[in-house]
Every structure is written in structure tokens, then in C-alpha cells.
Amino acid sequence: MIKRIIIFIMLGLMAMIFFNLASNYVENESLLKLGRYYAEKGPQELGAPNLVTAVVVTYRGLDTLGEVTVLFISAAGVGLLLRRTRRKQNDEDLEKADRREERAGVHKPASEIVETATQLLLPMVILFGIYVFINGHLSPGGGFQGGAIIASGTMFLLLALPESHISRILIAVTESLSGFSYVVIGVLGVILAGGFLDNRILGLGEYGDLFSAGAIPLIYCFIGLKVGFELSAVLDRFRKDDTGPEKT
């Protein structure tokens, strides 16, 4: 009973907060000070047509690093919680066990329609993901979006061909390398240019070219690879050993 009353009081408070927000809402007529600085100086300083991603990677680069770290921690947490109960000493043994499991056909096969459609669409989905993060400084999207699209490709693959094998070692190596290179680029910014994650360590190039805007495309490639492989690893973890809960 008391629990119910508390819940209703909380709901009432939430409603008050949102009512205040909604009733006091006025649309901004002009950009705020910081926004105006970004909009005016951003294109000259960064050389990227897509201002959103430029701000995300350079001015707010530290936040992006934080986001990548959060994602990494959550992926590591999933890996820790869903670790195999069987005692296996190293990764190679795990890989062998996975292959054996896959040969034995533990997982239910998908329908033919899903399988065929996936074989048709999967390369395109992956290619689109790569396109999105390479063109992060030109068109909407960026490392996170591209990585998420690549992970959706992995999702398709796991849906259609549950037996397919994803190399755990490849995932670990790519993910760590790209995360490491991202931080290295950030530190290079301190040494060669204005500060941590400054994109002007490389030439700005022609405005609107694929190879322009300094280090932004490079950083986005690393973020995209890292996010894509991380999310794929999370999906893979959830798939493995999902023949049902253990009987205890």
C-alpha cells in the first residue's frame, strides 16, 4: 500500500517536472553563444562539411572517447557475465569447442527466405556501414552509426545462419588495435597540433573531399571498427551456449 502511494507521488513529481518543461518551452530564435562559435568557426577550423560529426570528434572529442570507453566496459561486462561455464584454459580451446558445437548443429536453422535474403543483403549492409563511417565528415552518420550498421549486419548473419563462426581472436585483436590507435591519434594531437584529439595533425585538404578535414575520417574509421566489432562480440556472446539455462 505504502509502495503504491510512493509510486503515485513519484509519478506526480515527474508530471510536475515535465509540465514545467513543456509550459515554459520557448523556441530559440538564434543560436546560443557556443553554438554560434561552432557554426561560424567550425567549417574553417575543421574543414568538415558535416558540422555535427566534426564537433563530436574534435571539440567534444573527449566525450566521444568516454562514450567509446562506456561501450567497451559494457561489452567487457557482457563477456564477463556470459563467460563459458566449462573450464577452458585459452581462446584456442574455446574456438575449437565453438566449431565442434557448430558442426553438431545445436542451433535451429532459419527459413530459406531469411537465408537467401541475408546472403543478398549482408554485403550491402556491411558496405553501407563502412561507407557511413568513412564519409562521417561529409554526410550524416559517423563512427558510431557505421559501427552500429555493421553490427546489424552481424545480427542478420546470426539470424540467418546461426551456425556461422565468428572468430573471437579477430574480434579481440581488431577492437583493441583500433581503440589503441584512436588514443594514439589523440595524443599525437597534443604533440603536433593544438590539443588532445585535434584533427589538424593531417592537412585539412580540399573542403568536401573524401580525404579532407584532417584526422576526422581516420578517427571515425577506428571508432567505427571498434564499435562494430564490439557490438558484434556482444551479440556473439549472447548467441553462444544458448541451448537453454544450465540444469543445476
Binding site: V52, T53, V132, P140, G141, G142, F144, Q145, A148, I149, A151, S152, M155, L159, L231, V234, L235, F238, R239, D242, G244, P245
Partner: protein, 90 residues
């Protein structure tokens, strides 16, 4: 009162978000609830496109309605047996 088509579309989509979110809470069937939660974020991603935020829309569509739904489905399959046994123990 004059309402432009864009505003109308946004309102309809927002109603869609609210409805599917409500369904996700109400539905007793787990899989149905998960699918309607995914539907809510699909509607949300269309709203982002209409409101000229394609970057956010991409993330919402692929993570919110794709990956999260999938991970929830996997999690349900993993925990199905555990749920019933704990209920029996009570």
C-alpha cells in the same frame, strides 16, 4: 487552426511512440512486449528524420530497434527456464 503536414506527421508518429511504449508495458507476452518496444524506437527514429536529425536517427534505428530487440530476445531464451523454476520455489 492551420497545421502543416510535417507537424501532423510528427504528431502521428509521436502518438505511435506512446502507443507502442504503452503496449510494451501492458502486454503479458514477453516477445510481443519486446517487439513493441522495438517498434517504439523505430517510430522515434522516423521522428528524428522528420525533425532533421539524421545522425541520431541512424543510431536509434540500428541500435534501438535492431540490436536491443535482438539482445532482449536472446536474453529471454537464455532465462526462460530460470524464470519458471524460481516461481515454483516460492
Amino acid at each position: 487552426m492551420y497545421i502543416s503536414i510535417l507537424v501532423l506527421l510528427t504528431l502521428v508518429l509521436c502518438a505511435g511512440i506512446l502507443l507502442s511504449a504503452l503496449l510494451a508495458v501492458i502486454l503479458k507476452n514477453n516477445v510481443g512486449a519486446i517487439v513493441s518496444a522495438g517498434l517504439a524506437s523505430l517510430f522515434a527514429s522516423v521522428v528524428y528524420v522528420v525533425l532533421a536529425a539524421p545522425d541520431v536517427a541512424m543510431t536509434e534505428a540500428s541500435i534501438g530497434s535492431g540490436l536491443t530487440t535482438m539482445i532482449f530476445l536472446y536474453a529471454i531464451r537464455k532465462t526462460q527456464g530460470i524464470d519458471t523454476t524460481s516461481r515454483e520455489n516460492k
